[in-house]
Symmetry: C2
């Protein structure tokens, strides 16, 4: 499979077969009280319950599975400070091959520990994009591992599309699907699966106003650089990928923008009403639905992308009563 | 169906048919990192994702559905300050009949609001058991409604047993099931379904040491009064029911006791690792498994009974990072 060409619905189906029994088939959750607030019927695809706590494990598993035995023996490599590093290390461990992860020196200790617990081999670097890319290139020169980009790679996109594929298998008559957009791999995969299975479906990306590069890129028709990272939705601070931009231009109806307060309020509602621990990035689609009222009584799929947060450890705070 | 006779496996099956399409068929969740901590393979029945946020909706729905049209027209009644009040009001609303709920004056505002939002008609009383029972008797004299006891009623027990029935349909080869025990309705229903479907299965109740009346009752063979309510697991402070005591004596292998720290630690682990918001009572079975190591590599069903907590609203606390 060519990592630089847009994947097809058939590629998403191939990915679904490849990851079956390795990744979780996550449940679809409904919640009457959130339906009432949104004025629509919502079907949450709970990727916070995926292995590693996020959808990322789907794409990483498919990318690792697509390698030939010879390629796989040399291992996989990436630079990442977040969920992709964990997902790739876990996927590599599942196939029994090495994973070389370049992590900036200021990565969170918990994320480093997770990568190490999956057997990932960490190389530290300075916390700049140049240092990350140079260090990765040098690691790969030594070991010959295959670089797996976190989102701008057809294998990753096809893998992430399996979440929407499963959702539409369970709820075929959706009017729309909303997914968050950061680098764009999840939204691109969602759009390919959604449009492929149901051409009339509306595909909506949800993006923080403070990280609106996908919105500006689709408005202007030219890929725009990201703003300085500020949004609380840390998973969506990355730049929109080139391949993903090309796919989104053809397939996405709208990028809805949401403010920071809306993201936090949606996150609290998901914890309180749906009883699901969802990270800020994962709450962005619900925030979009609550601030831009969808047509009444529509049936809307919502991808809850992940649940990796650290609970408050302030000793004066119980985080619940 | 006689509310005073122990229900059979067939009654649980009847309940499952009656509540199908009304109650959620909740997902069974697995989590590798919790498996590692417990040294066993755990299958969590996520009743925190049930309508109303707790298993209680199962029993309440079956009890309401078992009434004849004439009985139903007079409505249902109960006294409760907690999840049963909400579940019964919601179940009655689903059938379109009145629900009369006697609530002590010191009930939480949020719980009153939930009962009212389901159309439940609240009568206030003093916060003593005598006042609750007398007020309920007077309400029922006026309206002729059917009293639905929160746990010591065969219809309720059969309804709660449907959670274990669904769990064993999905994972038939469990070695054991662990459920929390308060009034005993959930554990009795679990035992009837579990033993009925799989006679060799081990049935374990999990109970806070600070509310160990079920443990003491089974040890001594005589139903023991509860201690003054102290445990953080507020759902398990109730007295063990008489009918439930009779059922548990015949069907339960063990009541495992757990300390308060263990309950809070298990609750945090469920939020952090399994991404599920679970209330303290719902975390008691995992706490039992973590403090009493089960035989290695066993396959164990765990009933996560509910997720109704209030998130911290202390403005200095985010409850996450």
């Amino acid at each position: 499979m060519d990592p630089r060409r847009p994947p097809s619905l058939q590629d998403v189906r191939t990915a679904a077969e490849a990851i079956a029994g390795v990744a979780h088939r996550t449940p679809v959750i409904t919640c009457t009280s959130l339906d009432r607030l949104a004025g629509a019927q919502l079907f949450f695809k709970a990727e916070n319950l995926q292995k590693g706590g996020a959808f990322k494990f789907r794409g990483a598993t498919f990318a690792v599975k697509s390698l030939s035995d010879t390629e796989a023996a040399r291992g996989v490599a990436t630079h990442s400070s977040g969920n992709h590093a964990q997902a790739l290390a876990l996927a590599a461990k599942t196939r029994g091959i090495p994973a070389y992860i370049v992590m900036p020196r200021d990565s969170m200790a918990a994320k480093r520990a997770a990568v190490e617990s999956y057997g990932g081999q960490i190389t530290e670097c300075e916390p700049t994009l140049t240092a990350r890319e140079e260090t990765l290139a040098s690691v790969v020169r030594t070991c010959g591992a295959e670089i797996i980009h976190p989102y701008d790679d057809a294998r990753i996109i096809a893998g992430q599309g399996t979440a929407a594929l499963e959702l539409l298998e369970e709820v075929p008559d959706l009017d729309a699907i909303v997914a968050p957009v950061g680098g764009g791999g999840l939204l691109a995969g969602t759009a390919i699966a959604g449009r492929g299975l149901r051409p009339s479906i509306r595909i909506v990306g949800a993006e923080p106003t403070l990280a609106d590069d996908a919105h500006r890129s689709l408005e202007t028709g030219v890929r725009q650089p990201p703003r300085p990272p500020q949004t609380v939705a840390d998973g969506l601070r990355t730049a929109l990928g080139e391949l993903n931009f090309a796919i989104l231009r053809e397939t996405v109806d709208e990028i809805a923008l949401v403010g920071e307060t809306g993201i936090l309020e949606a996150m609290r509602l998901l914890w309180e009403r749906a009883k699901l621990v969802v990270e800020p990035s994962g709450a962005v689609p619900l925030a979009a639905l609550l601030s831009h009222a969808p047509p009444a009584r529509q049936r809307i799929g919502v991808i809850l992308s992940g649940g990796n947060v650290d609970l408050c450890r302030n000793p004066s705070c119980n985080f619940w009563h």
